[in-house]
């Protein structure tokens, strides 16, 4: 019984464990460099776009293993529009709004073909991948356009000052950052306890006390550690706030709302979902339009971080997002997967990237390793499912 429990826990948290192991390996390999405050900060800021895109990609993958190949090009397209607008002196918020709108329109355009005309998503978005790469070039006229608007850079995680300022004027440690970490942990602990108590009162099955406390303590420690490290650098990067908001919002969306539920249902059995009176076309339309929206946010974060837009930006971003989802346990046939899983997948890829860069591994070999990790994750998933039968 006990061994069975441990087996289940191992299975459920495989990727988390893999993440810990990988961090451990690089900790040794880089002689601790990878966990320096600045590197942790970079890990989150550099991969902000992956977290956002993976969240959106997950919604598409849930509907039946469908992917969106166009996101890399659209990141570039949307970023290009914003950079050009701001360089022409248009108000920063108007520019942001236009970027978001452009993303949603692009998403809706592709979603229309996928949902209502039944163009296979692979084809519809492959077309988008070409078309929007071309349009990015047109928008940018083939050149790099730099972004100098400091409001934009500060708010979306670019430039030197894109951190939440320390309100308490801490000397070596950013006190605001530490307090934020403590508050988050406190909220997390309190809601966990409240949920557990109410579940127990209603007589629902709950996880064993040991695993509940273990999870609580581990997550709390990880969060505190993270914020402690960030406090030792420049504080909370603004991009982290965007990631935080998006991840929480979409976690809530996928687990608690009807549309979230329908994404899983369509991926699990489209015909049964249809016969339950659900408009499955709307579900597809939502998934791809939403992908456009999140791609726009990823585009904003990308050009802000680089403080410029270039026609080559965003290449292979779609692959990073797709890889993160599958490493994070989403099924290639749809119907299963979670936002947190995709985030863990994205983190794992990010850590591997960064660790290898610090160790000075050749960029070409980095790609080989990334490919093998993706393959290994999916093989593991397939094998563990086979065992169950």
């Amino acid at each position: 019984m006990v061994s069975n429990n441990i087996g289940n826990i191992l299975k459920k948290y495989t990727m988390v464990i893999a993440l810990v192991v990988v961090i451990g390996i690089f900790y040794v390999g880089t002689k601790g460099t990878i966990l320096l405050p600045q590197n942790i900060n970079n890990l989150l800021s550099q991969n902000a776009y992956v977290f956002v895109l993976a969240t959106g990609m997950l919604m598409c993958i849930l509907t039946g293993g469908n992917i969106d190949l166009s996101v890399g090009s659209v990141v570039c397209f949307v970023g290009g529009i914003g950079a050009v607008l701001m360089s022409k002196g248009i108000n920063v918020w108007v520019s942001v709004l236009v970027m978001l709108l452009a993303g949603v329109l692009v998403g809706a355009w592709q979603a229309f073909w996928v949902a209502y005309i039944n163009v296979p998503p692979f084809i519809a978005t492959l077309a988008g991948m070409y078309a929007f790469r071309g349009l990015s070039n047109v928008v940018l006229d083939g050149y790099a356009v730099s972004i100098s608007n400091t409001t934009f850079l500060n708010v979306f995680g670019g430039g030197a000052d894109c951190y939440i300022p320390d309100l308490f004027g801490g000397d070596k440690l950013n006190i605001t950052c530490l307090i934020a970490g403590l508050v988050i942990v406190a909220i997390y602990v309190i809601t966990s306890f409240m949920n557990r108590i109410s579940a127990a009162r209603k007589g629902y099955s709950t996880t064993s006390a040991a695993s509940f406390y273990a999870k609580l303590i581990i997550i709390s420690l990880v969060v505190l550690f993270l914020f402690y490290k960030l406090a030792g650098y420049k504080g909370i990067p603004t991009s982290l706030i965007w990631i935080f908001v998006i991840v929480l919002a979409y976690h809530y969306f996928t687990t608690k709302t009807t549309m979230g539920r329908y994404l899983y249902a369509v991926g699990g059995n489209e015909k049964a979902t249809q016969l339950s009176g659900i408009n499955t076309k709307k579900v597809y339309f939502f998934a791809y339009t939403n992908m456009g929206f999140l791609t726009a946010i990823a585009g904003i974060l990308t050009v802000a971080r680089a403080a410029s837009a270039q026609p080559t930006y965003g290449q292979f971003y779609e692959m990073d997002a797709i890889g993160a989802c599958f490493i994070g346990g989403a099924s290639a046939y749809g119907g299963t997967g979670s936002v947190f899983g995709a985030i863990i997948g994205a983190l794992l890829m990010g850590v591997i990237n960064q660790g290898m860069s610090i160790m000075g591994v050749d960029a070409n070999y980095q790609k080989v390793v990334k490919g093998l990790v993706l393959l290994a994750a999916v093989i593991f998933d397939v094998l563990s499912k086979r065992e169950k039968k």
Binding site: Y264, L275, S276, G277
Partner: protein, 508 residues
């Protein structure tokens, strides 16, 4: 006893945590038809998988003696070389390949580098003739009906020089005429010396063809009945299967008052969605009253499912015409959502394909058709969802560790209960149940019948489409008979008989 062709001795097969087979013994005589019966999950298919090498030697204990020698099959190819060929319940044919290509798939004629197509098709035609099919082997599988596809499977088995033919539920997707033809073919083969093992739920068919019947229950052999000595009546076989005599296969309904007409269709006509000139339902008029169970009998392909689905918010067909009345008022249902809102439910015949999301837990399946009931501002109240799922689990006696269990892990009978729970939660007044007991065992069937009785006792109306005549006769207050898209008969349940229904169909 005659010559023993096959003997399986003390076969025990364990899966992690479950003993699927426990000292099972099976003796099959040369040239007989041997039936294997038992409830779902009794271990019939597992036993056949052991025999055919799908579970390789070493993964089970016990001996397989075939033709006098002990066999240790490592894979399917090994058993096929000896002439043991299994035909699975789900047809394993590829729709866009020709009959001939399918028949010799994995057994291609000619050289590896160059398939000899002339030989392939000539051989294929030869075997098709043996099973009584006149189609050319160049016809694509998708262009022939399910009945003929089943015959192609048998021809394919013959092409492998089968000496022992194993058929797993060969008639489960066939109508009565095709089933009869298939069974007669087996009898014909028997005359030529072929030995067959048939697994079936349809006990009348088993009684018709079998020389011996081996009953398996909970992974053990219970008994083997011999046609010459034993009684082959359904009641006798069921007694062995469930371990008790089912004195009444259909629960009694007590004092259900039949009220006003709840739903009525008039002159309902539906055309095929792809072939727009083909009428699938032709001028059908029918009604169902409150508290009434109306059975719709008919052969496979009679248009019953199509009728039901087209009523259910145009879920099937094009160019639908006719009138639909609910409680005397004419309604026009635009889509499925609309139909659910008007309190109609259609419980599909294909629970895995069209009914349930197998990768989702019971609770999520239970609420899918009526999720808005649990929502405020599109946010699901998951406490309430859990309670609803629990309530239906208790009410329908669904056997599962918890409602968090994925539906894919349940047995057929329990899946059917989840499907019923889903539509009961949608709170319909009229339930259309399409083959509600297909492929589930006798005990679960009885429970489904009890649920139907409870539903009409609450004043709901039930339309039950079924291809099993005893079920239609046992459960219905009134029976409609459908054939080739038309209503060809209507009779009171008490007056109807298998003969009167069949004669309606044949005379139409």
């Amino acid at each position: 006893m005659g010559n023993i062709l096959l003997e399986m001795k003390n076969i025990t097969k364990e899966f992690p945590g479950v003993k699927a087979l426990d000292n099972v013994n099976l003796k099959v005589e040369q040239g007989e038809i041997h039936a294997l019966v038992g409830e779902n999950g009794a271990g019939k298919s597992t036993l056949m998988n052991v025999l055919s090498g799908i579970y390789p030697f070493g993964s089970y204990t016990g001996d397989i003696v075939y033709n006098g020698e002990v066999c240790q099959f490592q894979k399917i190819k090994d058993s096929e070389e000896k002439g043991i060929v299994i035909i699975h319940q789900e047809l394993a044919l590829i729709p866009y390949m020709s009959i001939g290509e399918n028949m010799f798939l994995g057994n291609e004629q000619g050289k590896k580098s160059a398939i000899d197509w002339d030989k392939t098709y000539a051989e294929a035609d030869k075997y098709l003739k043996m099973v009584g099919l006149s189609e050319s082997s160049r016809v694509l599988i998708k262009d022939i009906g399910v009945g003929k596809q089943q015959l192609v499977e048998i021809a394919k088995a013959l092409a492998k020089h089968a000496k022992l033919l194993i058929l797993d539920e060969p008639t489960s997707s066939l109508n009565e005429t095709d089933s009869k033809a298939l069974l007669d073919l087996l009898l014909e083969f028997k005359k030529q010396g072929m030995t067959s093992i048939i697994i079936s739920h349809k006990l009348n068919e088993v009684a018709y063809v079998a020389d011996h019947i081996t009953v398996i229950r909970d992974g053990s052999t219970i008994e083997t009945l011999d046609k010459k000595v034993d009684d082959f009546s359904e009641d006798r076989i069921i007694k062995g299967m469930v371990g008790r005599a089912l004195t009444d296969r259909f629960p009694k309904r007590h004092d259900v008052k039949i009220g006003d007409v709840a739903m009525e269709v008039k002159d309902w006509t539906v055309y095929h969605p792809q072939y727009a000139e083909r009428k699938v339902v032709d001028g059908v008029s029918m009604n169902v009253r409150k508290g009434e169970v109306v059975g719709i009998a008919g052969l496979m392909g009679a248009g019953r499912t199509e009728l039901a689905m087209s009523i259910f918010g145009k879920a099937y067909g094009t160019n639908i015409s006719g009138q639909l009345f609910l409680n005397g008022q004419e309604v026009h249902l635009k889509n499925i959502k609309d139909a659910i809102k008007h309190k109609i439910a259609y419980v599909t015949e294909d629970r895995k394909g069209n009914g349930l999301v197998l990768s989702n837990p019971i609770k999520i399946n239970t609420t899918l058709a009526n999720l808005s009931e649990l929502c405020t501002n599109r946010v699901i109240d998951q406490d309430k969802e859990y309670q609803v799922a629990e309530e239906y689990r208790e009410k329908l006696k669904t056997k599962c560790p918890s409602v968090e269990q994925n539906v894919g892990n349940l047995s057929g009978g329990n899946q059917q209960k989840v499907l019923l729970a889903k539509w009961m939660f949608a709170n319909p007044d009229v339930l259309i149940l399409d083959e509600p007991t297909r492929g589930i065992d006798v005990g679960a069937k009885y429970e489904i019948y009890c649920i139907i009785n409870d539903l009409v006792a609450e004043g709901k109306s039930v339309i039950m489409i079924s291809s099993e005549l005893p079920e239609v006769l046992g459960m219905s207050d009134r029976i409609y008979v459908m054939n080739e898209g038309k209503m060809v008969g209507e009779m009171a349940g008490a007056e109807a008989s298998q003969e009167s229904i069949m004669s309606c169909i044949l005379k139409s």
